[in-house]
């Protein structure tokens, strides 16, 4: 038996209280589930940036809020939340795919100074579309290494934890990926 001051011990109880308009219980519920949602989003969408992860987390919270009346207090809370989370992640992935197909990121394009006069290797990499295509063509392990270390800028230790591979294997994959990218972008220029 719990000695907690609050009788609201489970997420289901918190949601039941929230359905009756208890804002304090609702805030507690949302604060409890937010890190769990974030963890799942990071695990499932490891290739997106931190801002996108947070955006998805917020979208899941808003979805939970929008359909809170569909929670049946006599049923467990976790499957209810998981179903919403899974649905929003699938929607998010579709949206991400659509955007990726339509858009070319222009963050790295210079306005004042041309990058063409800079280092030749950088000139190769300034073609974002070609780079993206070249990264996409990499073998799975090399692509993952590039995404984690070069695009998300994780440390080797963090990247190894996320990808579930050793630091040594990551170093090798990154080295090979960089060599492949240099070669494929070089061919493209010729």
């Amino acid at each position: 038996m719990t000695t907690s001051d609050s009788p609201l011990d489970t997420l289901g109880d918190l949601m039941r209280a929230a359905q009756q308009g208890d804002g304090v219980a609702y805030a507690r519920l949302l604060r409890t589930i937010t890190p769990r949602i974030r963890q799942v989003v990071r695990r499932q969408r490891g290739f997106v940036g931190e801002a996108e992860v947070e955006d998805l987390v917020q979208e899941v919270l808003l979805s939970v809020h929008a359909v809170r009346s569909t929670y049946d207090p006599s049923r467990p809370f976790e499957p209810w939340l998981t179903a919403i989370l899974r649905n929003r992640l699938v929607d998010g992935a579709r949206r991400y795919g659509r955007i990726a197909r339509r858009e070319v990121k222009v963050d790295d394009l210079d306005v004042t100074f041309s990058e063409l006069e800079a280092k030749e290797e950088s000139a190769d990499l300034s073609d974002a579309a070609a780079l993206r295509e070249a990264v996409r063509a990499l073998p799975e392990q090399q692509r993952k290494a590039i995404e984690l270390l070069k695009l998300k800028e994780l440390s080797l230790k963090e990247a190894a934890q996320v990808s579930g591979t050793s630091i040594g294997a990551l170093k090798v994959a990154t080295h090979r990926a960089m060599a492949t990218l240099r070669m494929s972008l070089g061919k493209r220029r010729e």
């Binding site: 805030a27 937010t34 808003l62 569909t70």
Partner: protein, 218 residues
């Protein structure tokens, strides 16, 4: 925008939201109202051709199968908007629809008068009954379903349309009975199949997430 800020906002602006009744309860309530409406419509329209000699137990077997399909399809639609709920209603609805189809095919084969199918121009009346008569039911059902979570819009819409069309079909059959089930199979079956497919295609337009705007800084 900060997630903590969003949590604070949602909790601060929280309004009570009573839990929806169970899917089976909602389906039963909708079905009872819909059945009364269809019965009233069929009686109001009158029995267009009177009851032909061929109407017998086979006719009523087909109607019972259609009614069961409608009821189970509505339960499947209501269950599809509840997150985390087992989707046992879906296979049941599909099996009921298959049994209904088998019943229709079996009785149509017994009739064997397929030549009457293409010449049965008065069947447009039945098509009108199913489409126009069923439209208000679909509107009510869609409004009830939109209170749920749009987890699978195409599935939800398809089962909703199947439920409505199957029930409206019963009204049309009772109002304008056919001694020849081949006509019912071709015309009514065709309309119901089209309505179900069209609804599945339009599902994402009917059922989508309507989220509160995120708070902005400032």
């Amino acid at each position: 925008m900060n997630t903590d800020e969003l949590v604070r906002k949602l909790a601060h602006e929280l309004e009570p939201a009573a839990p929806l009744p169970r899917a089976a309860m909602r389906a039963s309530a909708w079905f009872a109202g819909a059945a009364l409406y269809i019965a009233a419509l069929a009686i109001g329209m009158g029995f267009v051709n009177g009851y032909p000699d061929g109407v017998d137990v086979r006719f009523w077997a087909v109607q019972v199968a259609a009614i069961v399909t409608s009821l189970l399809a509505s339960a499947a639609a209501f269950a599809s908007v509840i997150p985390g709920l087992s989707d046992r209603w879906r296979p049941l609805a599909v099996v009921a629809a298959a049994l209904w189809l088998v019943t229709l095919v079996a009785t149509s084969t017994a009739d064997t008068d397929w030549s009457a199918v293409s010449s049965a121009t008065h069947e447009w009346w039945c098509v009108g009954f199913i489409v126009v008569g069923g439209a208000p039911l679909l509107v009510v059902l869609a409004r009830m379903l939109r209170r749920g979570a749009p987890l699978n819009p195409a599935t939800t819409a398809a089962f909703a349309a199947l439920s409505v069309a199957a029930l409206a079909n019963v009204g049309a059959c009772i109002s304008l009975p056919h001694a020849n089930n081949a006509i019912t199979l071709a015309w009514h079956g065709g309309v119901i199949a089209l309505a179900t497919v069209a609804a599945a295609a339009c599902g994402p337009l009917l059922f989508f997430w309507r989220l509160a705007p995120k708070p902005t800084k400032g």
